[in-house]
Each structure stands twice: as C-alpha cells, then as structure tokens.
C-alpha cells in the first residue's frame, strides 16, 4: 500500500480502478470519437497514446502527467462532463496545465460536474501506479494504491 498527496482542485472520494497514461493525454484525440458518436462510454481513441488507446476511461480514475494538444482541450473536457461520460477522477502527477485547468473549471461552473481533480502528485506517483491497480482517492487529496 502506497500513498501520495496532491493538491485538490475538485474534491471527492473514489474507490476503484485506475487507467494510467505515462505520456501527456491529448484531450481532443482521446475523447472526440466517443463524444461525436454520442457514446455512453469513452473508449480512448488516440492512436498515438498506446498507454490508454482502446481502454474504457469513463467512470474510472485516469492518472496522467498533463494534457496536451489542441487548445479546444478545455471545451472537450467540459463536453464529456456534460455528457456524464468523463473519468471519475483526473490524477495529475505534474501541476495541472492551463487547458485541463480551463476544462475542469468550465465543467464545474457550467455543468455542475462532480469530477474529482488532483494535481502535483509527483513523478514517483506516475512511476509507481499501473493500469488496473485498485486505488482510493480521498477528498483531502490523498491517493492510496491498495
């Protein structure tokens, strides 16, 4: 059992599986296909990200260093939150980037989203955690790999 503490940007509790991307997640490329097709779940569709490509990331924790790609990224996060097909938590190892931050804020203010967001969990967090690990996220920003 290992614990990491990060900064809480949107609080909440979660217990369940995690999907891990060790590279930056391209928001548009990852979410666009499922959102466009009005799917009930997001199957990550960025072929350039083999860590998460083809994985169902709706309702689970997504661990990542940062988001990358088009500056539409924030809006795409807002869209998937409005469709309620977002990951349950976003767990950033690095300080959150401006595009993801905008997305999280847009989702909170305009969609009343309950997405949990923690950043600054550290490089060690991303080195330690693996896809399909069971984790627990507490509202004080502590992430435990069970």
């Amino acid at each position: 059992m290992k614990q990491f503490k990060g900064r809480v940007l949107a609080s909440g509790n979660y217990k369940g599986k995690v999907v891990v991307s060790r590279q930056g997640v391209n928001t548009l490329a990852t979410f666009q296909k499922s959102a466009l097709m009005n799917k009930k779940e997001v199957i990550a569709s960025d072929q350039n990200n083999s860590d998460i490509f083809g994985k169902n990331i709706t309702g689970v924790a997504l661990a990542l260093p940062m988001t990358i790609g088009s500056t539409t990224g924030g809006m795409v996060l807002q869209v998937i939150c409005s469709m309620k097909i977002n990951p349950a938590c976003l767990l950033f190892s690095a300080p959150i980037d401006s595009l993801a931050a905008a997305g999280v804020v847009l989702a909170k203010v305009w969609e009343n989203s309950d997405i949990i967001v923690i950043d600054k969990l550290g490089e060690e967090f991303l080195k330690t955690i693996n896809t399909d690990d069971e984790i627990e996220v507490k509202e004080d920003g502590i992430v435990t790999i069970l």
Binding site: L9, S70, G74, S82, D97, S98, L106
Partner: protein, 431 residues
C-alpha cells in the same frame, strides 16, 4: 458561492456576486477559478480589445458551447471591440469532396455551422471575412501592440502574439478566450508576468544553413514542451529586422513549437522584441541548453511516422498553409510551383494542391497577376483550416502531403520539406 483566493476590486466582486446578472457572474467565476489554480494575484485589464476565438467550427459535439452562447446572447453581452475567428471548416468550391464526405461533414461534423455563426455575429464577430488562424496579418488587422494584454486561445496566434509582437497572453483553452474578451479581464499569471516570460532553455543553432522553420520549431517544441526557449544563432540566417519574410518564417516556426510541444512564447536573440531589449537577461539562472545542428534536425525529421495506409504509394493531395499563408508566402509558393512545373516539363500539378490563406489576404492576392498564374498550375486557393478537413475519417483514404508540422501532428498527413513537397506535387517520387 465561490470564495476567490485572488484579490478582486469592488466592480469585479460585484460581478462575481451577481450584481450584473447571473451569466456575467458565471463568466467571472470561471475566470477567477481558472486564475486561482495558477495562484494569480489579481485580474488585469485586457488592453487589446479585439478578441480572437479558437472555436470556429459548428460541430454538434460542442452542445455546451452553444448553450453558453445562447445564455450570453440572452444576457445581451457583447465583445465591445469585436473578435476574429479561426478558419471555417468547409469550402466545397475549392476543396472538392465526395458525396459521402459531404454527408459526414454536413450531418455529423459541422452540421451546426450556420447556427453557430449566427450566434457569433450576435456577440461581436467583426465580419464575414474574419476567419483565419493568422488574425495578426496586416490585411486582417487584429494586431496587438507590444505589451498589450490579450484574451486569445488559438495556439499559433498566442505564440506569435507573445513572441513576435511582444504582447502578453497565456495558452488558454477555447471559451476562456471569449470570457476574457466579454469581461475585459484575464487572470494575471504565467506568460502575463515578467517572471513567466523568462527563458528556461537556451537553444543554440549550429546548422550549416538556414533551418527549415517547421522542423526547427518541431525540434524545439518536442524538447522544451511548455517551457520558454531563448534561441541564439538564428539571427545569422534571419537577420535582425522583422521583415515580412522573417515574420512568415517565425509564424511557421512558432506554430510548430506550439503544436509539437506546448510553447506559448519564444525569444530569438537580436530579433524578437523582448530579446532585443533584454538580451540574455531573459534567461533564468539555471537554464538548460539544447544544441541544434544539421544532424539533430535530420534526426527529428526522420522520426515523423508515416501513417498512410499505403506507405509506398505517392501522395495524391497536398495542403500548404497551416497556419494560413501570408501574402508574401502566397507569392513565393506561386513562383516556386511554376518553376517546379517548368523544371519537370509539366503544365499542371500532378497531385491535388491546395493553398490555404486568410480571406482578407486572398482578396488582396486576387488583385495580382499571380492569382491567375497560381490557378493555371491547377492548384486551388482556399481559406479553410486543413485540420478541420482531415477531421473527417473518410479523408484518411487520401494520401495527404503537407509542409505543416501542425497538420502532420493532428492528422495522418505526411510531412515533406518545402522542396520535397514541390517535387511530390509534380508527381516525383520522394522517399
């Protein structure tokens, strides 16, 4: 109610507390929360009133955006000095599409285009011609001054405005751009501050000739990601004045740094405004170094994957102009295409060749003899965003070639150096 961490003045607090209506309150809350995440101390005034919006496409997926736009219209809010937009997605006259492709474009991808443009007009779109990613072209006229504070989001325009014009803007997401323009405030952090504009990388150019702008930008973007580079040795090839040619070079270079990495600002020694004033004082104490020579550029170029289904076939379609071509570049590409055809004893290009520029630049270009000369080569001139064309999965059946590193990054288009692309559109095999 949200408790702001940053200091707000009375007017800002009143807006946040809903004294100017619930929509303005939510817009203010969005900007304040956004700034609080980055420990912004305050909101600062947007001093270049003309906005620029990154979201120019009426994609049904963006339902929440249209809902917010309706709310803004209902609240009678408008951007006082107006705004320009990124390029439109479609131009069937100059970028022909099959019936099936059109169905996907019209029904699935951009079915809300007309409705969305109607919304934009109501909140301050400056004109029907103001659709370009390069709104800072003099023909378009959305040109911030050095030191101006902006609320833009288009990554290549933010990069250009910060670096070449010396204005100040963060790498914002779509919606933050319009919110800042509507309220006239943005949170002060990152690239808006002197500290945030300091370079953490010194990039030393040691190439034997002028580097291809798009590959140099790609190399630097992939290395520094979101950090600020200070580039030395490039003035040897570009000189020390921001001429039209140099600005065009920096536009393409910067777009590659922004799309292959996440660069919002770069400094070029002896050339860009802040580097001219402050020189190496712009470097932080413990900066990192990155040396770029011919070998490094070739390594980066060779690393680009070829994602066509049939990698051994020649390309059959070419997009030139992402970001949009300047008038100088349009003239130069016209001459180069004509010369390449002559060298190959051809009258027309062998692959569909589409050049992309701003509507206002196209209008100017159409007044010159070169316009007809370009059309005579078989090439087409459009004002769309080629990325939005490649969003249609059916277009993957075309083997698209490009000299744009941004287009390469966000699509399966294959990258060619300028000279290679000229040979490829003349039907030559380029490996």
């Amino acid at each position: 109610m949200y408790e702001p961490k940053m200091a707000l003045d009375k007017e800002q607090l009143d807006i946040l507390n809903g004294k100017q209506g619930p929509t303005k309150a939510k817009i203010m809350e969005t900007l304040v929360r956004y700034g609080d995440i980055f420990d912004a101390k305050r909101l600062v005034k947007v001093t270049h009133g003309q906005g620029h919006l990154v979201t120019s496409f009426g994609i049904p997926l963006l339902k929440p955006v249209y809902k917010i736009m309706d709310e803004i219209i209902a609240a009678d809010l408008k951007v006082k000095d107006g705004f320009s937009m990124d390029p439109r997605p479609l131009d069937y006259e100059n970028v022909k599409c099959s019936l099936l492709e059109k169905l996907v474009f019209n029904l699935i991808l951009y079915g809300k285009q007309e409705d969305y443009e109607n919304q934009l007009e109501k909140i301050g779109l400056t004109g029907k011609n103001k659709f370009t990613c390069a709104c800072y072209f003099k023909e378009v006229g959305n040109i911030p001054k050095e030191g101006d504070i902006l609320s833009w989001a288009e990554s290549s325009a933010v990069n250009y405005a910060n670096s070449v014009l010396g204005a100040r803007c963060n790498r914002n997401s779509g919606m933050i751009d319009i919110f800042g323009s509507l309220l006239g405030y943005v949170p002060e952090f990152g690239l808006l501050t002197d500290e945030g504009r300091k370079a953490t990388y010194k990039v030393i150019i040691k190439t034997s000739k002028k580097p291809e702008a798009q590959i140099l930008g790609s190399a630097i973007g992939m290395k520094v990601m979101e950090e600020v580079p200070y580039i030395v040795g490039l003035d040897k090839y570009l000189g020390t004045e921001l001429t039209d040619d140099v600005c065009s070079y920096l536009k393409d270079f910067g777009a590659a740094t922004a799309s292959n990495g996440a660069v919002g600002l770069y400094h070029v020694e002896n050339l860009t405004p802040e580097a001219k004033h402050l020189k190496e004082k712009l470097l932080v104490k413990d900066y990192k170094e990155y040396v770029i020579d011919d070998e490094e550029l070739e390594r980066v170029y060779k690393s680009y994957p070829i994602m066509w289904k049939n990698k051994d076939k020649k390309g059959n379609m070419a997009f030139i102009g992402c970001p949009h071509l300047s008038l100088t570049q349009l003239n130069s590409w016209t001459d180069r295409i004509i010369n390449a055809l002559k060298e190959n004893n051809l009258k027309k290009v062998k692959a569909r060749t589409i050049l992309c520029t701003a509507p206002d630049v196209k209008e100017e270009f159409m007044k010159t003899d070169n316009y007809q000369k370009l059309l005579n080569t078989g090439a087409k001139l459009t004002c769309i965003c080629p990325l939005m064309y490649t969003n249609n999965p059916l277009t993957k059946s075309h083997r698209i070639m490009t000299s744009s590193n941004k287009l390469r990054t966000y699509s399966i288009a294959r990258y060619y150096k300028d000279e290679e692309l000229l040979q490829a559109i003349c039907g030559k095999e380029v490996k």
